[in-house]
């Protein structure tokens, strides 16, 4: 029973239930598409304002329909397939990029009353969650989908039969694969606290209780902020957004993996990129900021409050991604790898072990001070060992280089 966690499916499954499920799918699809339209508009507007410009202001009120106009323009452009490309893979790649992006959104709870009703709302007399599906594997679906999305980028670059996209795809495969490790390890910290893979369970867990009455029980606090930071950084890298946009680095690779794409195939890549941005923000909100949970201020329209809190939290991250893009320069390939492998992965692994030790200590009644002390000592020892290893490898490499070049 993959979908069985939703109370909708606990009742007798009749036509109404199927229709509600279908309605949710259609709605989610529509919401995501509209959200992308506005996300692109929002990004262009905010970046323009950060650069003393206005941004799109001709198409529609405040230029709201600019993205629509761009999409229509791309739709009407000539569809070019390069002569030296692998035609099948070339045509397949955009779909490998966009389908996972849509699927990821299915597991994100975008609303629901977590104060009193356990995160469900009532539609047409049926209790249900405001998310398309709540599979027991939950967050693993997100990790799986983001892994598949790598293929979209990678195959697109490889199949173009051109050099700049090839370089882009080489970078993409290395970058996205290595940052997935850090991403997964910081998700593990959350899973450790929640004890469940289901996204709905995670939100419900964070909605419960809190410290001192006003500090929410969000995972960003419970897991100690470090996994959140790592997830944010690794997530930005996973999205190929600045400062980690080496895959499409305009100045170096002329657009990277999608250099050879035109027309609607390019539009699909574009769509997937912004879909992923929205998805990543939503996943961060779900994992670390309590998703749609929040106080219900006016009774009666309790379902609206969950959506509102979710949107507010989502907006913060969307703005942050745009802000990063407007400000930060790009990493170099090897620096990116250094950051990923030498800092983020060891740090997230160490932090995960630390959290696990704290949890076990709690269960066994150990003195938390001792646990923290031992962890700090262990952490420093591990860090020092790692640094020593890195330094030794580096001196080795340099001496080899010197030998090679005399």
């Amino acid at each position: 029973m993959i979908l069985a966690l939703d109370p909708l499916y606990l009742t007798n499954i009749g036509l109404a239930v199927v229709l509600i499920a279908l309605l949710k799918v259609v709605l989610a699809f529509a919401i995501v598409l509209v959200a992308v339209l506005f996300m692109v508009w929002f990004e262009r507007k905010v970046i323009a304002d950060m650069q003393h410009r206005i941004g799109p202001n001709i198409a529609g009120p405040w230029g709201l329909f600019q993205t629509l106009a761009d999409g229509l323009k791309l739709l009407m452009k000539e569809d070019l397939v390069p002569e030296h490309s692998n035609r099948f893979v070339f045509k397949l790649a955009p779909f490998l990029a966009i389908v996972p992006a849509f699927l990821t959104f299915a597991i994100i709870p975008i609303g629901g009353n977590f104060e009193s009703k356990g995160g469900s709302v009532r539609i047409f007399g049926y209790d249900t969650y405001l998310q398309v599906a709540d599979p027991p594997i939950g967050i693993l679906l997100f990790l799986a989908m983001s892994s598949i999305a790598v293929y979209g980028v990678m195959l697109a670059g490889w199949s173009s039969g051109s050099k700049f996209p090839l370089l882009g795809s080489v970078r993409a495969s290395a970058q996205m694969v290595s940052y997935e490790a850090a991403l997964g390890l910081s998700v593990l910290a959350v899973i450790l606290q929640t004890g469940s893979l289901s996204t709905h369970e995670m939100v419900a867990d964070q909605a419960a209780g809190g410290f001192l009455g006003f500090i929410p029980n969000w995972n960003i606090i419970v897991t100690g902020f470090v996994p959140f930071l790592i997830f944010l950084i690794a997530g930005t890298a996973e999205l190929n957004r600045p400062p980690f946009d080496l895959v499409e680095a305009e100045q170096e690779l002329v657009g990277g993996f999608h250099t050879e794409y035109s027309s609607f195939r390019f539009a699909i890549f574009f769509l997937a990129e912004y879909l992923n941005t929205i998805n990543m923000s939503a996943i961060i909100v779900t994992l670390f900021l309590g998703g749609p949970s929040g106080p219900v201020l006016i009774e009666g329209i309790d379902w609206a409050w969950g959506i509102l809190w979710f949107l507010v939290k989502l907006f913060v991250f969307l703005f942050a991604f745009v802000w990063f893009r407007a400000t930060l320069p790009r990493f170099r390939y090897d620096q990116l790898m250094d950051l990923g492998w030498k800092l983020l992965i060891p740090l997230s692994l160490g932090w995960f072990l630390f959290l696990a030790a704290l949890n076990i200590g709690n269960d066994r009644g150990w003195n938390p001070g001792v646990v923290v002390g031992v962890t700090i000592v262990g952490g420093f020892a591990g860090g020092a060992l790692l640094m020593a290893a890195i330094r030794t490898a580096r001196t080795e490499r340099i001496s080899q280089e010197v030998d090679a070049h005399g």
Partner: protein, 179 residues
Amino acid sequence: MGLVPGLVKGLGVTGRTLLQTVFPGGFKKPIPAPIRGAQTVQYPHEKDIPAPRARGVIALHEGNCTSCMLCVRECPDWCIYIEAHKEKAPPRRAGGKPRKKNKLDRFDIDFALCMFCGICVEVCPFEALFWSPEYEYSEPRIADLLHDKSRLHEWMATVPEFEDHETGSVVKQKTVPPL
């Protein structure tokens, strides 16, 4: 690295610019007005006014031109075309000999070729050529950029007065002759 990482300070700069653009009124008037806050000029709707000395287009004061051909010779890319013929003009004094006068048949400037260097305006000894800061005369057809003498004469209406000079200058103040 200082106390605050440079990354965060950089984010601060862009964030401040965002606020400056969206709220040009500052704290006193927090009304979003990015059109006023932006530094860009929304060209077809609003227009930048160039400096009076700006070299936009060359205007011809036809009455002053004596077809002496100096501008044609001095033009670095030879984009001025003058044709003239001699005409008898009535004598200055009664009973004098009729004068010979150059009558301008053709005075064309090909703005597709022109480099906007201003040498022709400078060498003209009879104050027949002037710069106008007007800039809106692009054409869909390149041949239409060849302005004939009547078109060049129309630009005279847009020629601004010469500006005063900064203190300490002894350069002679020039004036635009009346049409």
